[in-house]
């Protein structure tokens, strides 16, 4: 049998961080007493009318812009009918055939659509043991009911569980930097479902998919998808077929449980919401949404890669706008030094030095001014101090701030530039380590460490490692 490749699409629900609900003026909350943020509208009393929250629409348009979606000139709301106590109207107001936004892209993944809807109430199952099955009565807290949601649906463009988790992180970072949601998976303000199927590698068709619900961390998302891919591959390998269904992944046992057979869209009897008039984003609304966009992680990663930064360094910086701004100030101050060298100092040596204290501090909150770091990197690049001394100076900068040149002066860290002096120290170090010298002559270059170490000890790290290596090799081989 041909190898089965993974085909994964994600559905992400983002709770918008508005002050009020989608269709009424009740405040949003988390962790309050049950049902204190409710009113006749969000409890679906007879005769009430929903009115959409303007800010929620603006936030949704910002998400659409960030995901490079096309915005529908005129979209409408639909009723999605279903019967469950978390929805007092017995329908959810959502969007169906004309979503607010469609045909977008984030990174390598195409966005199928992004639409507005309202969240359901929170169910509490009495006697709940952490799992969903097997409890007594159910309680309903409508505080969450009616919270504005944007549902983002990707095309099935992801090819592994790791890719799915990493892309979901990029999406979370993007939405977080937009400032339109708390994107907290544990609190449920970002919820990720995965549609998972397999197909023979190289084929264009799509296999029957299953839907994995509500994995509340990226790690669980990855493990859940991995488990489901393995299950489907085994099933098909044994001659079986995949049934379309919704699955719950239990991260403790690593097992998958069927929640229900998957509904088709006709089961929801969608029809246009008669109580809400169409939504036709105006030029001003679209402009406000575009202008509210900060530089987003994907664009920043691309720009940093253009500056020569390695992909992982670029992604690391882009995920943290403050540190990214710090890097940019430092790079601007470090005239004539390649940005990637500066970036490596920011994400490498500086990050490590900032972790040394009792509490890790952010670069922007540290005593190390961008100009000081730039000066320090220059000292190392110009070989006026060794890399090791550079780290010593950095520790001093983290502790007390100040000017690196002054610290170099005070601590006597200037590199030994007199080659005669260094040659003498190298000669002495070779003499003191005859065994290592013999091994190097015999063709074992690894033995050089002992001699380099002796030189560094003698010079208190003030020698350039590369130069020391060169001098040792010249003396032993020459």
């Amino acid at each position: 049998m041909a190898e089965l490749e993974a085909v994964i699409g994600l559905e992400i629900h983002v709770q918008l961080a508005t002050r009020t609900k989608m269709f009424c003026g009740c405040e949003l909350s988390f962790g309050d007493e049950p049902n204190v943020h409710t009113c006749p509208v969000c409890l679906a009393h007879p005769g009430v009318l929903p009115v959409p929250n303007e800010q929620a629409i603006l936030y949704a348009l910002q998400i659409a812009a960030a995901l490079e979606c096309e915005v529908a000139p005129r979209s409408i709301f639909h009723r999605k009918n279903y019967f469950y106590p978390d929805s007092p109207k017995a329908y959810q107001i959502s969007q169906f055939d004309i979503p607010l936004a469609s045909d977008g892209r984030l990174g390598d993944v195409r966005i199928h659509r992004a639409h507005l809807e309202e969240d359901a109430a929170k169910m509490i199952h009495v006697g709940e043991s952490g799992r969903i099955h097997g409890s007594g009565a159910s309680l309903v807290d409508f505080n969450r009911g009616g919270t504005p949601l944007v549902e983002i649906v990707t095309e099935p463009d992801l090819r592994s569980a790791a890719e799915a988790a990493s892309w979901a992180r990029l999406l979370r970072e993007t939405v977080r930097q937009l400032g339109v949601s708390d994107v907290n998976m544990e609190e449920g303000s970002l919820r990720v479902d995965a549609n998972v199927s397999v197909r023979p590698a190289g084929s264009d068709g799509l296999g029957t998919k299953t839907e994995l619900k509500n994995m509340n961390s990226f790690r669980f998302l990855q493990r859940g998808v991995e488990a489901e891919l393995e299950r489907q591959r085994e099933l098909i390998g044994a001659g079986g077929t995949v049934t379309q269904e919704t699955l719950h992944f239990d991260p403790v046992s690593g097992s998958l449980t069927s929640l229900r057979s998957k509904e088709e869209s006709h089961d929801y009897r969608y029809f246009p919401e008669p109580d809400l008039v169409p939504l036709a984003p105006t030029e001003a609304m679209l402009r406000d949404a575009r202008e509210a966009l900060p530089e987003l992680p994907a664009a920043r990663i691309a720009r940093y890669e253009g500056l020569g930064l390695a992909t992982d360094v670029a992604s690391g910086l882009a995920a943290d706008p403050q540190t990214a701004a710090y890097f940019e100030s430092t790079a601007a101050a470090a005239a004539g030094i390649e940005p990637k060298v500066v970036a490596n100092w920011v994400t490498g040596e500086l990050a490590a030095a900032l972790r040394q204290g009792e509490e890790e501090i952010a670069a922007t909150d540290s005593r190390v001014e961008p100009a000081a770091l730039a000066a320090l990197v220059a000292l190392v690049q110009e070989k006026r101090i060794s890399h090791g001394s550079g780290k010593t100076v950095l520790s001093a900068l983290v502790a007390e701030g100040g000017d690196p040149a002054a610290i170099v002066e005070r601590e006597g860290l200037a590199q030994i530039s007199d080659s005669g002096e260094l040659e003498a120290i190298v000669a002495a170090a070779i003499e003191a380590n005859p065994q290592a010298a013999e091994q190097i002559r015999a063709g074992n270059p690894k033995a050089i460490g002992a001699i380099v170490g002796a030189v560094m000890k003698e010079t208190k790290g003030r020698a350039d490692g590369g130069e020391v290596n060169r001098l040792i090799m010249r003396r032993l081989k020459g």
Partner: protein, 73 residues
């Protein structure tokens, strides 16, 4: 009732005589768009009032029959 229904169906049939290519479906009959409200909180209702008619509420929550008895429910 049969007469009424036949009347309705005949009326609808008239529509199929028309060339409706490119005419979007009518979802609303009022010519309004973008009826929105600012994101400003309004007081919620007192919980006691809203729970007054709820059978046996529990600690401020509505009680409903277990939704878990039938896993396919």
């Amino acid at each position: 009732m049969r007469v009424d229904l036949s009347g309705i169906l005949e009326h609808v049939e008239q529509i199929s005589a028309l060339d409706l290519d490119g005419v979007p479906p009518t979802s609303h009959v009022v010519a309004l768009e973008n009826v929105l409200r600012p994101d400003v909180p309004r007081p919620s209702w007192p919980r006691e009032a809203l729970l007054q008619r709820a059978p046996e509420p529990v600690e401020g929550a509505f009680r409903v029959p277990s939704t878990q008895a039938d896993p396919d429910g």
